[in-house]
Assembly symmetry: C2
Homo-oligomer: 351 residues x 2
């Protein structure tokens, strides 16, 4: 089991994803501010993982408070939540997790719970979200693994794996499940510039599991599709709008277009917490622009001439028309997505 994040008596322990694959080191966040820093600097990344990280951050903030009473703690609780919510704008799981902690806090406060009890319950809620995340990945694996052919080259972009969740993964969970079902899967991992989550993280965790993996540059996908080496694409998501538009790592939209052009199914695997029915379409999803340095430098070494312009959007939006199916822990969603989303929300209540 890959230890993406883990609660310890001292705080939250994260595997440092900026150092993988060459170095397996850990960062211990003992305060909620440190959890926020760990999210901003992408020591931990991946929509489901940052959601649960933020929940632990909120719990940690409560446990570390010097406030003596609930009324004294209440404004501090709001500051803790705001700090964690301000770390990254695109993945909705972050806001979903913080909102869930806020709702719990409000309910406990209304019911007259003592501060000590609130602290216990906030930590228990974070633990529950951690466990639910792994269970959701396993369920997505079962639904999604069945979609893949008995023998297939599967392209994935970025890292939607154990390292992007509390374990098992969303897109890579689907691949793991297919392998466990006895299917012969060869993974092609887009290296995923500029942060190289595919080359570094997806390759690392699939090799650890013995799943055959080939890293390609992002610009090689069409060539491999044309050559018949890719039978399916599976990616994760950072936010899914009410109409099924998918925000995910920059480059996902490219892959979706290329897949459709070659008649290859394009699957998105994401837990229900990634679905944001309050956002009507992908156009409304805020896209984080990250530092140009991620593009201009690697390992401290400069790649580009001084002063050149740089774009570095961390995400793009894939219109739902390119999506063959969305794989959730509740089952598969297919077009029209607004309709199938509404139906599944009615059938299966949020946990």
């Amino acid at each position: 089991m890959i230890p993406t994040l883990a609660w310890t008596p001292e705080g939250v322990r994260f595997i440092d994803q900026t150092k993988l694959p060459l170095e397996e080191s850990y960062v211990l966040a003992t305060t909620y501010e440190q959890v926020a820093d760990v999210i901003v600097t992408m020591v931990v990344r991946g929509a489901p993982a940052i959601g649960v990280s933020a929940a632990y951050g909120v719990a940690l903030g409560a446990l570390r408070t010097t406030a003596a009473s609930v009324p004294e703690f209440a404004p501090e609780f709001q500051r803790i939540c705001a700090r964690l919510a301000g770390t990254r704008p695109t993945a909705v799981n972050l806001f979903w997790a913080i909102d869930r902690m806020k709702r719990l806090f409000a309910n406990l406060t209304l019911s007259g719970a003592a501060l000590a009890q609130i602290k216990d319950r906030l930590l228990a809620e974070a633990h529950a979200m951690y466990d639910e995340d792994i269970a959701a990945c396993k369920a997505m694996g079962a639904f999604g693994g069945a979609l893949l052919p008995q023998e297939a080259g599967v392209l994935t972009h970025c890292n939607a794996g154990a390292l992007a969740t509390c374990g098992y993964g969303t897109a890579l969970g689907v691949i793991r499940a297919a392998v466990e079902q006895g299917k012969r899967i060869h993974v092609f991992a887009d290296e995923t510039r500029p942060f190289l989550q595919g080359a570094r993280l997806t390759a690392w965790e699939l090799m650890a599991d013995g799943i055959p993996t080939t890293v390609i540059c992002d610009n090689m996908a069409a060539s491999l599709m044309h050559a018949g080496r890719i039978q399916a694409v599976v990616v994760g998501a950072d936010r899914i709008a009410a109409n099924g538009d998918v925000a995910n790592k920059i480059g996902t939209y490219n892959v979706a277009i290329l897949a459709r052009e070659h008649g290859i199914p394009f699957y998105v695997a994401a837990p229900w917490s990634t679905i944001d029915t309050a956002t009507a379409t992908g156009d409304e999803i805020p896209i984080e622009e990250r530092s140009p340095v991620e593009v201009t430098h690697h390992g401290g070494r400069q790649l580009t001439p001084n002063g050149v312009g740089i774009c570095n959007p961390a995400f793009d939006v894939t219109p739902s028309k390119y999506v063959t199916a969305i794989i959730t822990e509740r089952g598969l969603l297919r077009a029209p997505f607004d309709e199938s989303l509404r139906q599944m929300e009615l059938v299966a209540r949020p946990c």
Copy 2:
């Protein structure tokens, strides 16, 4: 004028494109073997530039021979040509240039020329090819510049610039000409993994000319197209088959599909020497597979986990159906390309 390659009394001087943009240094090749090495290691790259480099390599081999007569030199001449032809398989300009030198040698031999005269004529032929290359780029610029809107974001992939030719460039020549025609062009340069010709070379030479340039990762193109920031794509070519299929730097095929999906014209700028009517379709073009180290390492620093599989095809093939027009020094080619190619070959005889 960017000194991509230059004849000197000591041999051929190349700007070292593996060191740009951080270091402007030069490599002097004093033997044909050194010219071959310079092509293999991509100190010089770009289809037109390696064609002319090979021609100078042949001339250099002749000038350096210790043979005392034409019959004594003839087998050595064949070895020189074979060594230079064995450097890189995809760009047809290399074989075109060497064949032209071979034809000249054969004609001079048949006409009873002395070895000294043959040496002079081989060098003069290389000089002529150098001059013709720049003239072709200027002509392509005039034809292609007119295609671009008065104000446009133009995406280019790899480096089809002054550094890929003897000067001015093919795709970047088109952009330079548009700018000289008073058009307001903002260039988006795909960084072009793994060798980063866009981030390093295209950015460097366009900045030197004061043309506004933004470097993007290869996976950001679709997102920018969707946002309406790109009005045209212009790329170079390494070989164009008789049916108009275009072999060019890996990732070109991706860009072509994305352009068509967004209704953006996709132009290919290439001199006539890039057209290989002996190759019926793109499927027959040999694609060079380069060392995995270009993908796994940057600047000596490892990116990927040990032992992971790697693909590193240096080129891909864009089927002609994605090509809006091919810009040559003789004019524009449009679909059906087999037909327009034949017609233009009849109208304008090879120089």
